[in-house]
C-alpha cells in the first residue's frame, strides 16, 4: 500500500469515527446552548435505541423495522428525560442540573442491567452493514461509508432546519438570550423539547451505527461515546453547533492519527495523548476553537 493509499484509508477512518462523534456532540451542544445543561445521560439514549432495536430483531422482524423502532425509542426516551428530570429544574443552578444528569445516567444504566443482564449481547447487523468494499488497494468497511453518508445527510438537514424553520431559528435565539426569547413569545418549552427530540434521534442513529460496528450491545455502551462527544464539543466551543461538528472531526482525526503514529507499545494509552492535546488546546483557547468570549446569561 502506497503512502497516499494509507493516508486515504486513515482519512476515511477518521471521518467515519468523527461523524459518529459529531452526531452525538450536536445533541449535547443543542441542549447545552439553551439550558446550560451538560446532559451526560445523552449517551444512554444510544443504549436505549440499540436495545429496543435488538429486541425487535429478536422478535424476528426485519432490521429496517428494528431500526425505526430503535430511533423512535431513543427519541421518546430523550423527550421523557427532559419532561421528567430536567424541566422541573428549569432555572436551577448548573451544578444541580449536572448532578441530575448523572442520576438519570445511573438510573437508566442500572435499569438496563436489571432488564437485560450486565453482560453484552450480540447485535446481529444485516450483512450489507458488515460488507467490505474494495476500491483498488483500499479496503473500506461499508459501515464507514454509510456512517459518513448518513452524518453528511443529517448535518445538511439540520443546517436547513436551524436556518429556515421557525423552531430552528427560535432554538438559536433561545441559546443566545433566553430572557429575550421569552419576552418575544417564543415557546421555550417547545424549543427545548425540539432540541431534546432532535438530539435523541441523532443519538439513536449513532446507537445503530455503533452497535453494528462493534457487533454487540451492553448496558454501559453509552458512556464512552458521550465522553467523546463532550470532549468534541469542548474542543469546538461548548454550545456552538458548528463548533461541536468541527470538534468531533478534529477529535476523530486526532485519534486516528495517534493510532497510526504511536508505537504499538503506546497505543493502549492513545486516549491519554488525546486528552493531553485537549488540555493544550484549552490552555491556548479556553472557549474552544469556535467559542467566543463568555456571555452573561440571566
Amino acid at each position: 500500500m502506497s503512502a497516499l493509499e494509507l493516508l486515504l484509508q486513515q482519512l476515511i477512518n477518521a471521518v467515519s469515527i468523527g461523524s459518529l462523534y459529531a452526531l452525538m456532540a450536536i445533541g449535547l451542544a443543542m441542549v447545552f446552548g439553551i439550558l446550560r445543561l451538560i446532559n451526560f445521560a445523552h449517551g444512554d439514549l444510544i443504549m436505549v435505541g440499540s436495545y429496543v432495536a435488538l429486541l425487535v430483531m429478536m422478535l424476528g422482524l426485519p432490521f429496517a423495522v428494528a431500526a425505526v423502532a430503535g430511533l423512535a425509542a431513543s427519541t421518546l426516551a430523550g423527550l421523557a428525560m427532559e419532561r421528567v428530570a430536567y424541566r422541573p429544574l428549569r432555572g436551577a443552578h448548573e451544578i444541580a442540573m449536572l448532578l441530575t444528569s448523572f442520576s438519570v445516567t445511573i438510573f437508566l444504566e442500572n435499569l438496563a442491567i436489571i432488564l437485560f443482564r450486565p453482560t453484552s449481547r450480540p447485535f446481529p447487523a444485516p450483512s450489507v452493514l458488515r460488507s467490505v468494499i474494495i476500491l483498488g488497494k483500499l479496503q473500506v468497511a461499508g459501515l464507514d461509508l454509510i456512517a459518513i453518508a448518513v452524518a453528511a445527510l443529517l448535518l445538511v438537514a439540520l443546517t436547513v432546519f436551524v436556518r429556515s424553520t421557525n423552531v430552528g431559528i427560535a432554538m438559536r435565539a433561545a441559546s443566545q438570550d433566553l430572557l429575550a426569547a421569552r419576552l418575544m413569545g417564543i415557546n421555550v418549552n417547545r424549543v427545548v423539547a425540539a432540541a431534546f427530540a432532535i438530539g435523541s434521534l441523532l443519538a439513536g442513529v449513532v446507537g445503530l451505527l455503533w452497535s453494528a460496528r462493534v457487533g454487540k450491545v451492553d448496558p454501559l455502551m453509552g458512556f464512552n461515546p458521550v465522553l467523546k462527544a463532550f470532549v468534541a464539543s469542548v474542543i469546538g466551543g461548548l454550545g456552538s453547533l458548528p463548533g461541536a461538528v468541527l470538534g468531533a472531526y478534529v477529535l476523530g482525526g486526532l485519534e486516528i492519527l495517534l493510532q497510526g503514529l504511536l508505537p504499538s507499545t503506546l497505543t493502549p494509552y492513545r486516549d491519554a495523548f488525546v486528552f493531553t492535546a485537549l488540555i493544550a488546546l484549552l490552555l491556548l483557547r479556553p472557549n474552544g476553537i469556535l467559542g467566543g468570549t463568555e456571555r452573561e446569561k440571566i
Binding site: I169, A180, A181, R182, L183, G185, N187
Partner: protein, 240 residues
C-alpha cells in the same frame, strides 16, 4: 387598560417594589421615571410575567397577569422591548424580526408589518441580511424596537430605549415613539431621560425605592420641586 395595584416584588430578601400602583389607558403614552434601582425595570418584568409579584394585582383588560405565563402575556399583545436591547446577535436582522412575530399566524399581516417597521427604520432594510451583532448601538436599539413591533403590540413596554445612544439617534428613537403614539399604540415608557420622556408622554409616574412618589401630567411633574429633589438631583447626568 393596564392596572397595577399595590404590586410588591422581592428578589429573595431584597425588596424591589414595595407597592406600585399605576394605570395606563388604551392609546396613552405613560412615562415611568426614577433613578437607578428605583424599580422601573422590575415593574416591567412583573408586567411581562418574568418576575412574580408576592402581593398586589396586575391586570390587563381584565386578564390577571400575575397568573399568566410570559407566553400568554405576549399573546395578550403586551410586548416588552427590554433594557440593553437584547437582540439576538447571531441572528440576521430579518431573523430577529421573524422571531418578534413568531406567535402570529396571519402571514399577510406579518408581511405588512415588516414593510412598516422597515419604513420606520430604513437602515434596518439596508442591513437585513447582516447579523445583529454587527450593527451599531443605535441600529441595535432600532432593531430591538422593530422586533417588538413585529409582535403587533397593543401595549408596548419600552425600557430605556435611549440609554447610551448618541443625541442624534436618541432624537430618531423619540420621533418613532411619537409616531407610534399617534398611531394609537399604547406605550409604557421607562426612561432616565426625564425631559425628553415627559415631552412626549401624556402622563408620568415617578418611582423611588420601589414605590410611586409622584404622578401627573408631564408639565406638572417637570415643575414639581420634589422631582428635582428626589430624582433629577440624584442623576445629574440626566439634566438637560
Amino acid at each position: 387598560m393596564l392596572k397595577l395595584e399595590a404590586v410588591e416584588v422581592a428578589y429573595g430578601h431584597i425588596v424591589a417594589l414595595t407597592g406600585v400602583s399605576l394605570r395606563v389607558l388604551d392609546g396613552e403614552l405613560v412615562a415611568l421615571l426614577g433613578a437607578n434601582g428605583a424599580g422601573k425595570s422590575t415593574t416591567l418584568m412583573s408586567i411581562s410575567g418574568i418576575v412574580r409579584p408576592r402581593g398586589g394585582t396586575l391586570e390587563y383588560n381584565g386578564a390577571d397577569l400575575s397568573r399568566a405565563s410570559p407566553l400568554d402575556i405576549v399573546g395578550l399583545g403586551v410586548i416588552q422591548c427590554p433594557e440593553g436591547r437584547r437582540i439576538f446577535g447571531g441572528l440576521t436582522v430579518l431573523e430577529n424580526l421573524r422571531m418578534g412575530a413568531i406567535r402570529r399566524r396571519d402571514a399577510g399581516a406579518v408581511r405588512r408589518d415588516l414593510d412598516w417597521v422597515l419604513s420606520l427604520f430604513p437602515v434596518l432594510g439596508q442591513r437585513r441580511h447582516q447579523s445583529g451583532a454587527t450593527l451599531s448601538g443605535g441600529e441595535q436599539q432600532m432593531l430591538a424596537m422593530a422586533r417588538a413591533l413585529m409582535g403587533s403590540p397593543r401595549l408596548l413596554l419600552l425600557d430605556e430605549p435611549s440609554l447610551g445612544l448618541a443625541p442624534i439617534v436618541v432624537q430618531a428613537i423619540f420621533q418613532v415613539i411619537g409616531e407610534l403614539h399617534r398611531r394609537g399604540v399604547t406605550i409604557l415608557l421607562v426612561e432616565q431621560n426625564v425631559r425628553q420622556a415627559l415631552a412626549v408622554a401624556d402622563r408620568g409616574y415617578v418611582l423611588a425605592t420601589g414605590r410611586v412618589i409622584l404622578e401627573g401630567s408631564g408639565a406638572r411633574l417637570l415643575s414639581h420641586p420634589e422631582l428635582e429633589q428626589a430624582y433629577l438631583s440624584a442623576a445629574p447626568g440626566d439634566r438637560r
